[in-house]
């Protein structure tokens, strides 16, 4: 691959960086990232990845754009209300950067389809932008089984957290959280609310991790959970050990096949 004059100009601020250069930008252009959920986290993440020139981006979402999404899901515009989120996302990316090829999966991730979606374009890195525990555990388990690195994040109210899983390099999401909390123990964004910018902060941190992974530079958030509290404006980086008896990535895993936890009822309640 050799960069066109237009690409030299479009990506000049990347190429100038010592850690990127023309070769790094070529890696980004060959990079393949799957964004699961095009909501608060996935929207800004997908947009920055597209702007950066990630050549292949997959978008997974079963939902349609709702007016109440627009306060934070910036990949969707007012005129997109009622449209499938993956279509709205694809249109925004197409308008941003013609170098990006977008693949869309207009479905809910389940134990039955997630491996096929990840394998569809042999994605290098998965970004979890979902808003519920069943999906987060499913993505974790699938990535552990397929040995794919992924970025986890969650946001609620004025708080957010993120961690990065890389096979053999640190704990998985299940090492840390083991099981979804009991139903209704933790409210969803729909019930609890979320400051719109939280998706921007955490989603762009996830996009940063994806780009660093593709470039092979710096240190990833493997073995750490980064938490952010917007009210006190505090970031905390907490060291996390791997769990030897983890049910999915431990020495004797009890989870060897994917399964779905029951979704919270409000997921389909609207």
């Amino acid at each position: 691959m050799s960069l066109s004059n237009e690409q030299l100009e479009r990506y000049s601020r990347h190429i100038i960086l010592k850690q990127v250069g023309g070769k790094g930008q070529e890696k980004i252009l060959s990079g393949k990232v799957l964004v699961i959920g095009t909501g608060g986290l996935g929207a800004p993440a997908a947009m920055y990845l597209a702007a950066a020139g990630v050549g292949t981006i997959g978008l997974v979402d079963f939902d349609v754009v709702d007016l109440s999404n627009l306060q934070r899901q910036i990949i969707h515009q007012s005129q997109d209300v009622g449209k499938a989120k993956v279509d709205s996302g694809r249109e925004t990316i197409a308008a941003m950067n013609p170098d990006v090829k977008v693949y869309t999966y207009n479905e809910l991730v389940t134990a039955a389809n997630i491996k096929d979606i990840i394998r569809d374009q042999e994605y290098d890195f998965i970004l979890d932008g979902t808003d519920n525990f069943p999906a987060k555990f499913l993505i974790n388990d699938a990535c552990v089984m397929l040995r794919k690195p992924f970025s986890h994040a969650g946001i609620i109210r004025f708080q957010g957290q993120t961690m990065t899983y890389v096979p053999d390099a640190g704990p998985c999401y299940r090492c840390v959280f083991r099981e979804p909390p009991p139903k209704d123990a933790v409210p969803t964004c729909r019930q609890a609310g979320v400051l719109g910018v939280m998706g921007g902060i955490l989603g762009t941190l996830q996009a940063t991790e994806a780009l660093k992974y593709i470039l092979g530079v710096g240190e990833l958030l493997t073995g750490y959970l980064l938490t952010y509290d917007a009210l006190s404006m505090t970031f905390r980086k907490v060291k996390l050990p791997r769990s030897g008896d983890c049910a999915v990535c431990g020495e004797h895993p009890s989870i060897t096949q994917l399964f779905d936890y029951e979704k919270p009822t409000c997921e389909f309640g609207k």
């Binding site: 960069l3 030299l8 100009e9 000049s12 601020r13 190429i15 100038i16 010592k18 850690q19 250069g21 023309g22 070769k23 790094g24």
Partner: protein, 81 residues
């Protein structure tokens, strides 16, 4: 005695920072120790390009002003990533 360059580029038709971007991309394709000759404009390019090249570990061997107001730069590829 003039320096023998392995490659030559003319970046007088470019503006900053594309001047440096083009030079950097060209050097990436060359071997350590090889020499690139660059024709560039005065003003911003001549102030910025040699400095940025040095910051990335290359060696600026010579910079001379030409009669037409442009500059000629000889740079030896150094420790680029």
């Amino acid at each position: 005695m003039s320096i023998q360059a392995n490659k030559f580029i003319d970046i007088t038709d470019l503006v900053c920072p594309i001047t440096f971007v083009k030079t950097k991309i060209t050097l990436e394709e060359m071997e350590d120790g090889e020499i690139l000759e660059v024709r560039l404009n005065g003003g911003e390019p001549v102030e910025n390009v040699p400095r940025s090249l040095k910051e990335e570990g290359n060696k600026v061997l010579e910079l001379t002003r030409n009669e037409d107001g442009t500059y000629t730069l000889f740079v030896e590829k150094g420790d680029l990533p």
